[in-house]
């Protein structure tokens, strides 16, 4: 089959405007990473998330999926304030997308309502050598920014894939948050922008695994953390909370810690309370000092770690 026809994918609804046109890079290129953020109502997290990603990647594609809180407008405003508006591309994906779990399972992968199709459509806009999946609630630390900037050139001579295990941070207020130091499973977040790297459908969600022979680079834990707002419905993108222990252990842990903190029960093991000193927002405090704070939290015993933030 000629490559041109492989580069265009149609959807089962026949909506031509949302056909997938891939922009793969197969020749040697120094073009680095494009971060792709698929977002829905992330206005609250975006001020902590977007500046770092804009500073550390070649390009950022923000795909808005039916936000009602002004997420795309805020993204443009943040990029302008950072003086990096030329790096940001905002796209709209105006279809309801099936939630992870049974809803996803019941949706055909070539439907515009499928997570698989949504991801492939979003990533098809990448024009650099590497694509980087990024979530609207993942905060890069300063060291993480430098790591991404370095990997852009370190991975020029090979087909590499990035895996990241990020720790959740549960935000209680502008002053107080809880860091879960228990290490989760590392998952693929970055890969080559080439025909071998597209999303497939799995039972619960979309899937993109590294190719055999890829050099896998695991990013250190100090690179980023993931925000969970304790006053929001953090699991609304799941159609049920019955996580499979074999493959959804991370989600199960998040669900348990989230509800334990919300119900003000005893601090779960491995969770550390962090309080911001001074007037800085606790997320900004964590972002700035995450590497040393995490190191300290892990090196301390359970009792000491719990009292790190003064609870």
């Amino acid at each position: 089959m000629p490559e041109e026809s492989l580069q265009e994918w149609e959807n089962r609804e026949g909506i031509e405007e949302y056909n997938i046109h891939w922009n793969w890079v197969t020749e040697p290129s120094t073009s680095g990473f494009t971060a792709v953020l698929r977002v829905k109502n992330e206005a609250r997290s975006l001020p902590f998330v977007l500046p770092g990603v804009l500073r550390s990647t070649e390009r950022v594609i923000l795909v808005d999926n039916l936000s009602t809180d002004g997420t795309p407008q805020l993204a443009r405003k943040i990029a302008t304030e950072e003086g990096l508006e030329e790096k940001l591309e905002v796209l709209s994906y105006p279809f309801e997308v099936s939630r992870c779990g049974p809803e996803h399972l019941a949706t055909y992968p070539d439907s515009v309502h499928s997570l698989t199709y949504f991801y492939n459509w979003s990533f098809s806009h990448v024009r650099t050598r590497y694509a980087l999946k990024w979530d609207g609630d993942m905060v890069l630390t300063p060291q993480g920014e430098q790591v991404l900037q370095d990997l852009a050139w370190q991975l020029e001579g090979i087909d590499g894939a990035l895996v990241i295990s990020r720790s959740p941070v549960y935000v209680e207020s502008s002053r107080v948050a809880y860091l879960d130091t228990m290490q989760g499973k590392a998952e693929p977040w970055g890969w080559r922008n080439s025909p071998s790297y597209t999303f497939s459908k799995a039972f619960d969600w979309e899937l993109r695994l590294p190719e055999p022979g890829d050099l896998i680079v695991k990013l250190p834990d100090f690179v980023c953390f993931e925000l969970k707002w304790l006053d929001e419905e953090e699991f609304s993108h799941w159609s049920h909370p019955n996580f499979k222990p074999t493959i959804n252990a991370r989600k199960q842990r998040e669900w348990e810690v989230f509800h334990s903190l919300r119900e003000d029960a005893t601090l779960p093991e491995g969770v550390v309370r962090v309080e911001s000193p001074g007037n800085a927002h606790v997320i900004e405090h964590l972002r700035r000092d995450y590497a040393s704070l995490r190191r300290k939290a892990i090196s301390l015993g359970r009792e000491e770690a719990i009292s790190l933030g003064g609870r």
Binding site: E27, W153, G157, L215, V217, P220
Partner: protein
């Protein structure tokens, strides 16, 4: 005064030792013990032994050679740059060096593979990190290496490719950081002008405020006879395309040493890196028959050495019976030679 960490990078035989030793006499601390001087560098290397050992260990782990010509080698060392254990070791060692010294200089020809690791360690310790990259014409570098490191079985073409790879990526690694490029020849001609330029560009005023005795000590290190290896392309046996590419890389790097702002866009060097990656990929493909033949030879020699060893013969019923009584987690801990000896006894 705040902390300063100066990293001296660049290809070996480019004056990195001289530069590190000069600033080592102008207030910067060169961590001890240092590598002993020898015939290849009679006035000293300016290299801390711990750094050399650590870098050598990391390069072995990554299967990368100090002047590796493979563009993919950067991905192999990237994994170690992100290794938290390696990061902790370097940070801990560096912290010890900063005890009692505000200014530390680190030099080792292998350093360029680990610049992100050192920069991160320095920043976490609150130091201002700067990188000085030494430049010397590639034909002279290759000639000098071939002369002084003749025990290493590397061809001039491979040495030249190694220079192109390491210099192109060192430039990329330092882009956006506090950095300066210094030409070896300029340093030999008048070291004071070059150090004054470094002092101004990197904002390290103490370098030019050193005491007279320190300046005299620095001056005593500089000797025109250090410039031993004068060579041109005519002296080397290298392919024309690679020579042309190396010459263009050299010209671009020279512009950076003359005008600090020139490299801000980096477009020319990005294109040269793409060109080199493509060139190297095709060179590997051209040489594929040799690589496959070597692989076949290696596999054959491994097979013959494996078949020479006595086999355990696990199908023996008595062995299988005894094996069932030993839990797998214990079995895994028993060394192979002990297993073999027990198997022989049971037969």
């Amino acid at each position: 005064m705040g902390r300063d960490l100066m990293l001296v990078a660049g290809s070996g035989r480019s004056g990195t030792s001289l530069f590190a030793s000069i600033v080592g006499n102008l207030g910067f601390y060169v961590p001890r013990p240092q590598v002993q001087s020898d015939d290849t560098n009679p006035r000293g290397f300016g290299e801390p032994q711990w750094v050399v050992d650590k870098h050598s260990e990391l390069l072995r782990q990554a299967n990368v050679q100090a002047s590796d010509a493979r563009p993919s080698a950067w991905a192999d060392t990237a994994k170690l740059c992100l290794d938290e254990r390696a990061g902790n070791e370097i940070r801990t060692w560096l912290e010890e060096q900063f005890t009692g010294h505000d200014q530390v200089v680190i030099k080792d020809p292998r350093l360029l593979w680990f610049l992100p690791l050192w920069s991160r360690a320095g920043e976490e310790l609150g130091a201002d990190v700067s990188v000085v990259t030494m430049l010397r014409h590639p034909a002279e570098v290759v000639r000098s290496k071939s002369y002084w490191y003749s025990n290493m079985p590397l061809t001039e073409s491979n040495r030249l490719a190694g220079w192109v790879n390491t210099m192109l990526f060192t430039e990329r690694a330092t882009r956006g950081h506090r950095r300066i490029f210094v030409r070896f020849e300029d340093l030999l001609e008048d070291w004071t002008q070059q150090v004054a330029r470094v002092s101004a560009q990197l904002d390290i005023p103490s370098l030019v405020n050193a005491r007279a005795r320190q300046q005299a000590a620095a001056d005593s290190l500089v000797d025109r006879s250090l410039h031993r290896s004068k060579a041109g392309w005519g002296d080397l046996d290298v392919p024309g395309e690679l020579m042309h590419l190396a010459e263009r890389v050299w010209e671009e790097l020279l512009k950076l040493s003359e005008d600090a702002l020139y490299g801000d866009s980096g477009d020319h060097l990005d294109r040269l890196r793409e060109e080199y990656i493509s060139y190297y990929r095709y060179a590997e493909q051209v040489a594929q028959s040799s690589i496959l033949a070597e692989n076949r030879k290696f596999r054959r020699s491994r097979r013959s050495s494996t078949s020479a060893r006595p086999s355990v013969r696990p199908a023996d019923p008595m062995i299988l019976k005894v094996r069932r009584f030993v839990p797998p987690e214990i079995r895994d801990r028993i060394p192979l030679r002990v297993k073999r000896a027990v198997a022989e006894l049971l037969r």
